[in-house]
Subunit: 287 residues, 2 copies
């Protein structure tokens, strides 16, 4: 793949195709799952997986289920995060959230369904059992009670008041599941020697992603970002903006970017320009 | 094992021990998970797994993680079922439900955490990768959007008005996850030739279990069953009692029992008395 556009178009197409193939649609619960998955979004997690496979010249067709599962687990976390008892958001990606479009009970079950079905699908991946088990372990641990769910729990407990604790919160809540596709791509490419370097890079991408999200929640335009501007403030959440202000936040973003470009350069046996383009996209996006 | 008492005592001990070993406890989310798991309950799913392993003379020590995971997935479904947007129950197994004892957001995340952590734990089971993958597939499909979660979805849509549709609802909502431990036990015992017969037996046990639950919801004593009597009626749920009345429900229970005893007898190379005792317990229990 030569460009980010090509990667994102390919990813969007594959997720839509495979969603229709692998998620049934004969019950209301399935409809709600499709609705949540169709609500747009950047699909950055499956895109990261496809990018890594592309960089190593690995087969992408056998990895569609892994790509879909990553997007499903991310989507389940959003559906539950949006619930009235959690962030109470009525708008997500420019559309009604699931509990508004359907109802709260259906949203709870649709989230459960996305998480569970992601695992069921992963068990049918067409690789050696050991590799499949490795992939399930990486994804499941990323989303786990010592990963993403722990991050969600810390988020609702609201004990964050320093840059360090905010970084740690995001590393758990967002970073782990952004790192997972990179790790899965490396596993499926049989390139474990590069795993540690990729983990650090993926962690930084996750952090940049979250810093930019905080930024957009204050300075973005509602019609562009597709969710309510100021929702963090209305929940009294600690963000990079509340902690260090607009200017410092921008500087932090730029320094993380420079640092990560240098980390990419150390993988000098690979053409990593696709990842660099993803990073540029992450920090320059308007939504 | 010689008696049901011995089986249930062993199961309870193992679940408690392994829960403390395999579920961390340094965050509020973990506390809520432990709370939900500790709330008592019959632990019939892990007991069924241990019973099958015992019947085939298979090693039980390697199966503790599978037993624990089954109980965790069952518990997650109860935590979410009890939420205000679902059945809105404040009492479960004689104690406050999780959203009452903690809060709604924590209950949502604790349910997610139990489901996710069950899978994470399963990936670390000490068997060949192929067998581990088989076990994850069986458990995950049982809990799936074409299994338990589909049953929960049908339950909230409330379109049940015949015995057939009520049987189907329970087969999905309860039957599949009661069948899973039996299947897992057969897989771990390398006895796939008996699998179909055991599936039918497990399905019947699930049905008896649910018929008895409906019965106790009307005729049980609150101090014995540990949850509100009449909660089905207050939700206008269709039950065996509302469809065919008390006397016919008892007859149905007895005929299912007799039918299943005959199915057990066909497995004449095995001593299945432990399963027969479980069945007797299921239909005679007061809670």
């Amino acid at each position: 793949m030569n460009s980010l556009d090509e990667l994102l178009t390919y990813t969007k197409y594959q997720i839509t195709e495979n969603m229709n193939q692998y998620i049934p649609s004969y019950d209301r619960i399935h409809e709600a799952m499709h609705y949540a998955m169709k609500a747009g979004g950047k699909k950055i997690r499956p895109a990261l997986l496809y990018a890594i496979l592309d960089i190593y010249g690995s087969d992408k067709n056998s990895a569609h289920i892994a790509a879909l599962s990553l997007e499903m687990i991310h989507t389940y976390s959003l559906v539950h995060d949006d619930l009235p008892a959690m962030d109470d958001d009525d708008l997500r990606r420019g559309k009604n959230t699931v509990h508004i479009e359907f109802d709260e009970a259906t949203a709870i079950l649709a989230g459960d369904g996305l998480l569970n079905h992601a695992v069921t699908l992963l068990t049918s991946m067409n690789y050696d059992s050991e590799i499949v088990l490795d992939v399930i372990r990486v994804i499941s641990e990323a989303a786990s009670i010592e990963g993403m769910i722990l991050g969600q729990s810390k988020d609702i407990q609201d004990e964050v008041d320093t840059i360090e604790s905010l970084n740690q919160l995001h590393a758990l809540k967002t970073g782990r599941l952004l790192s997972a596709p990179v790790e899965v791509g490396v596993i499926l490419s049989d390139a474990k020697q590069d795993l540690e370097q990729w983990r650090t890079i993926a962690y930084n991408i996750g952090l940049m992603f979250q810093i930019k999200d905080d930024y957009l929640d204050v300075y973005g335009k509602e019609e562009e970002i597709g969710k309510r501007v100021g929702s963090d403030a209305s929940l009294n959440k600690t963000t990079y903006i509340t902690l260090i202000g607009q200017e410092e936040t921008n500087l932090l973003l730029q320094s993380k970017y420079d640092e990560t470009v240098n980390l990419l350069k150390e993988l000098n046996h690979l053409d990593t320009s696709l990842i660099e383009q993803i990073m540029k996209y992450v920090i320059e996006r308007k939504k």
